[in-house]
C-alpha cells in the first residue's frame, strides 16, 4: 500500500482532512488522536490488514510514521 493511501486511511480514522495529516506529525500534537480514534485505528488495522496490534505496540507509536509502520499485511 502506498504511503498516500495509508495517510488517507489514517485521516479517515481520525476524521481529519487528508491535507491535515503528514508522516512527521507527533500524535500527541493531534487533537483528534484520542482513545476513541485509537480504537478506530485498531479496528482499521484489523479490517484492512487482518492484523491485531498489542496495547504495548500501540503505546510505543509516537508519530504518524509509527502508525504507518504498523499498516502492513
Amino acid at each position: 500500500m502506498t504511503n498516500e493511501k495509508k495517510l488517507e486511511l489514517l485521516a479517515e480514522t481520525m476524521d481529519l482532512e487528508a491535507e491535515d495529516i503528514t508522516a512527521d506529525k507527533v500524535l500527541s500534537d493531534i487533537e483528534e488522536w484520542d482513545s476513541v480514534s485509537a480504537i478506530s485505528f485498531i479496528a482499521m488495522l484489523d479490517d484492512e490488514f487482518g492484523k491485531t496490534i498489542s496495547a504495548g505496540d500501540l503505546k510505543r507509536c509516537k508519530t504518524v510514521a509509527d502508525l504507518m509502520e504498523q499498516m502492513e499485511e
Binding site: 479517515e12 476524521d15 481529519l16 482532512e17
Partner: protein, 258 residues
C-alpha cells in the same frame, strides 16, 4: 417577520423521498427554503418529487438499501455518493431517514433473510448513512439527524417482529449517536408516528384484509389517521434552529395514540 423554522440556505438529505412521509418532508423543507438531496429506489418517482419542489439546485440519487448488506463494494459506493453530494465543499445541515418497509409475518415463517432485509432498509442503512454523514467533510457542526421510527417500537403488534425490532433498534441507537456527536453539537432524534396515510399504510390494510385495519387504526389514536404533511412539519422543526435544545429524544406526532 421572523420565521423560527426558516430553512433557507440549509442543505438537507432525505431518504425515502420518493413516497409518503419522505416526499412530504422534501416538499415542506424546500418550501421553507432548503436545498434538498432526495434518495429512494425508484428514479421515476424521485424525479416526480423533484418536480414538486419549489426553488432550484435540488438533486436526487437512486439506491436500493437492500444491497448494503454484507457488501463492502456497496459501502464504498455510499462513501462515494457522499463525495458527490458534498462536492465543491458543500456540507450537509441535516439528514432525515424516512426509507422503510413494513413486514407482516408470523415468527414461524420469518426467515433470517427476511429479517435481514427489513433490518437493512429500516436500521442498518440509517446507521451507515449516519456514519458517513458524521464525517466532518460531509456535515456542518450544529446540524440535525432524524430517524423516522414508529409507535410500534413501544406499542408492538403481533406478526410484525422484524418491523418492530428495526424501529426499537433505531430508538435505542439514537441516544448513543447523540452522545457521540455532542462535541459538534449535532442533534440526533427520532420521530415516531402512529398511523399515517401513505402507500405503506395502504399496503398494510391490504395485508390485514377482512380485519378492518383502517377503522381499527383510526380508533387507536385520539385524532385518528395523520397525514404525511403532519410528520413533515415535525421534521422541519427538528431540522430548524427552533429545536436547538432537542437531542436524544423520540417525538411522537401520533395524534394521541392510546
Amino acid at each position: 417577520m421572523k420565521n423560527p423554522m426558516d430553512l433557507s440556505n440549509k442543505y438537507i438529505l432525505i431518504t425515502g423521498a420518493s413516497s409518503g412521509i419522505g416526499k412530504a418532508t422534501a416538499i415542506y423543507c424546500a418550501e421553507l427554503g432548503a436545498k434538498v438531496v432526495l434518495m429512494g429506489r425508484n428514479t421515476e418517482k424521485l424525479l416526480e418529487t423533484k418536480k414538486l419542489l419549489p426553488g432550484e439546485d435540488h438533486q436526487f440519487f437512486a439506491m436500493d438499501f437492500r444491497t448494503l448488506l454484507g457488501n463492502s463494494v456497496r459501502r464504498d459506493y455510499l462513501s462515494e455518493l457522499f463525495g458527490q453530494i458534498t462536492a465543491g465543499d458543500r456540507k450537509l445541515d441535516g439528514f432525515v431517514h424516512c426509507a422503510g418497509i413494513a413486514s407482516v409475518m408470523p415468527l414461524k415463517s420469518l426467515t433470517i433473510e427476511r429479517l435481514h432485509e427489513v433490518m437493512s432498509v429500516n436500521f442498518y442503512s440509517f446507521i451507515e448513512m449516519t456514519r458517513n454523514y458524521l464525517k466532518k467533510k460531509n456535515s456542518n457542526d450544529g446540524s440535525s439527524i432524524i430517524g423516522i421510527s414508529s409507535v410500534l417500537a413501544v406499542r408492538p403488534r403481533e406478526y410484525e417482529l422484524a418491523y418492530v425490532a428495526s424501529k426499537a433498534a433505531m430508538d435505542a441507537a439514537v441516544p448513543v449517536i447523540a452522545m457521540e456527536s455532542a462535541k459538534r453539537r449535532i442533534r440526533v432524534n427520532c420521530i415516531a408516528p402512529g398511523s399515517v396515510n401513505t402507500e405503506m399504510a395502504a399496503n398494510m390494510a391490504r395485508e390485514y384484509k377482512n380485519q378492518n385495519f383502517q377503522e381499527k387504526q383510526k380508533k387507536q389514536s385520539i385524532f385518528g389517521w395523520q397525514q404525511p404533511e403532519d410528520i413533515a412539519k415535525v421534521c422541519a422543526f427538528l431540522l430548524s434552529d427552533a429545536s436547538r435544545a432537542f437531542t436524544a429524544q423520540v417525538l411522537r406526532p401520533d395524534g394521541g395514540y392510546r
